[in-house]
Symmetry: C2
Subunit: 388 residues, 2 copies
């Protein structure tokens, strides 16, 4: 857009001089004396002005100086903003304590330790409404049959496979779950988010609580995410609020022969001297959701990670954030699928699932959302990074 090559008809000696970096002044003199070149330059400068950064370069020194002063003020703003986000984090800590009693109740209903009262389980579903009006009769028939069958089964305890179903519903997670992970994940009973204590460095821990099972002896698997809320010295303007900067997993105490994160392969080895061949077995890494608990470590500077590692790490951070920000606070909506459409609307993780709900009654809300003049107030638009 701002190609500055000289137009035809510019004296070639000026061109030569232009290529010579050292004597700008000499060139300037020549240029000033050459109206033809000046005109050409003016024209180019007008184009230059169209890209902000080049426009700045054309401003008088006195003005540039004032712009630098504004930049200094902007850096001060970035540091105030960092403090703001720390206070927001404190607020999140405070509210985590307010949510906890509700999450504990949720866990009790899910595990079946506590049965909700009639009052607690009242719910008016538009869904049922719509069925009454006009649903897909074949589906209804099938469901009626299924319910009939279900009625004959002994009623299950709590909400079976609640968390595992969420893993299945959210693409971001189901992509990680291998067939052999599924029976293990069916023992998952709760996921908790624990924030670091006030005054401690910003971080949060995801706790995956499992019932006793045949696969590992841990009752809780943890994933810790370290965060940072301070502008980068080298690039303060890039500050966009707290970032996840590193994470740490935990050791899974697998029961004998149950470790799904490794597989044993047989390898033929030929003896150099005599041609005898022997078969050795070795363990190699195996795809599994449970690799989530032995993540890559982010080193101080991103440079020392290759691109693949950086991508892996970024995805891990995204998943960690998604557990913290969406799945744990709204688990039931990911279980029923109601939240998945929403995420699709905001282009969020798990969004792709939304497609499956097409024709679902949710779809209408969706359409409204697009034209609804009530616009969600983007307090922190930069937080979209992952969602766009």
């Amino acid at each position: 857009i701002c190609d500055l090559s000289f137009p035809d008809g510019v004296p070639s000696d000026s061109l030569e001089a232009a290529k010579n970096a050292s004597n700008t002044e000499k060139l300037t003199d020549q240029v000033m004396q050459n109206p033809q070149v000046l005109a050409a330059l003016q024209e180019r400068l007008d184009n230059v002005s169209h890209t902000p950064s080049s426009y700045i370069e054309t401003l008088p020194k006195a003005v540039k100086r004032r712009i630098n002063a504004l930049k200094q003020l902007q850096v001060k703003c970035a540091h105030i903003e960092a403090k703001f986000y720390e206070e927001v984090h404190d607020l999140e800590r405070k509210y985590a304590a307010l949510y906890q009693p509700l999450f504990d109740k949720r866990r009790e209903f899910i595990t079946g330790d506590v049965e909700p009262t009639d009052a607690e389980s009242e719910w008016h579903s538009e869904n049922e409404e719509e069925d009454k009006l006009a649903g897909d009769m074949k589906t209804k028939a099938v469901i009626a049959e299924k319910e009939a069958a279900a009625a004959e089964e002994p009623s299950p305890k709590g909400i079976p496979e609640f968390w595992f179903t969420i893993f299945r519903n959210v693409d971001m997670l189901s992509e990680l779950v291998q067939e052999y992970d599924e029976p293990i994940l069916k023992h998952l009973q709760d996921i908790k988010v624990k924030f670091s204590d006030p005054g401690q460095p910003m971080s949060f821990v995801l706790e995956f609580h499992f019932e006793p099972n045949d696969y590992f002896t841990n009752s809780v698997l943890t994933k810790t995410y370290k965060m940072k809320s301070e502008p980068d010295k080298a690039d303060p303007f890039s500050f966009e609020g707290p970032e996840i900067v590193d994470c740490d997993g935990c050791t899974i105490d697998w029961k004998k022969g149950k470790n799904v994160t490794v597989k044993t392969i047989k390898k033929k080895q030929k003896h150099k001297g005599r041609g005898t061949v022997r078969t050795i077995t070795k363990q190699v890494p195996n795809d599994s959701f449970f690799n989530f608990f032995s993540p890559l470590r982010a080193s101080g500077d991103g440079e020392s990670l290759d691109e693949d590692s950086e991508f892996t790490l970024a995805s891990d951070f995204e998943i960690g954030h998604f557990f913290r920000e969406r799945i744990v606070p709204r688990a039931v909506l990911y279980f029923t699928g109601e939240a998945i459409e929403d995420d699709d609307n905001v282009g969020g993780p798990g969004g792709p699932c939304g497609g499956e709900l097409e024709g679902d009654e949710e779809a209408e809300d969706d359409d409204d959302a697009e034209t609804n003049p009530k616009v969600s107030c983007l307090e922190f638009p930069h937080l979209c990074l992952l969602h766009c």
Copy 2:
């Protein structure tokens, strides 16, 4: 994905019954007695299970009852979340006061009322660094020439056309600015965000401060945005934090013949009786940025607005939010263009400008950002609505 049409080989009488909505029971009996159909149904049900909502419908009543209990808890969470966002808004009020002294200094440097000290205007720019190493020599020559020319001009006061330049750099705004708006916007000296007082309903006012000019007598034009932070009774799960729900403009006291928001058109009128024709002049609305101050009003329910109006209103809210959240806090970065690339990264408003900066040194940072394992922590992913 969950087509429930029966497979070939299912007795046609069951098929007929299936099509008959009224007697589900009769069908169910037939189905239960027909193992072939049952098997087919089971297979379909497995598919159904893949869409969460249908999966839920197939669960035993006792389990559905517990899910409803979780939904009740989820509504309670939504109301706690609303309170959280109100406290975040209080924090924003508190921090607005901390930013204000810096913004006042910014205004003084821009208007030229105060000249920054040498210490205040020190700035180490990578940009210059890069030029030193190896910049486009022709560009350097051109700029050197321009600077030379500029040096001869009387040095301007403050930073001329600071805010107008931002309007030009941000597509979302430049789209609204007509040629005849430009001379008016060159008199814009400051934009302030004022939050509602504590205890008052959530809202913010954009104040556009103008120097005395030939167009209108107002020194400040205001646009007020009313916000709401409470879950919708009918759809509590859709709550995603504070929303802009309405806005209000102000009266611009245009000087005689200076109102750019209307144009006078001549119209020929033919008299019914005698065929005489007379020309009348009437005023009709005219495209202008200044229509921003006489917005549509959102009525209580979105329904009563047609789609165009809803779209117009949504765009207005988006612009209002963008002024509040990005332009006012980071004005200098929109003036220099540095922030525009960032917004492009997050798919934010003004993003399209980013394209113009290709080849700019910013571009590298950009690439880093994409593979950088430091992932901006999405405290409020839903706030992406507008950005995706």
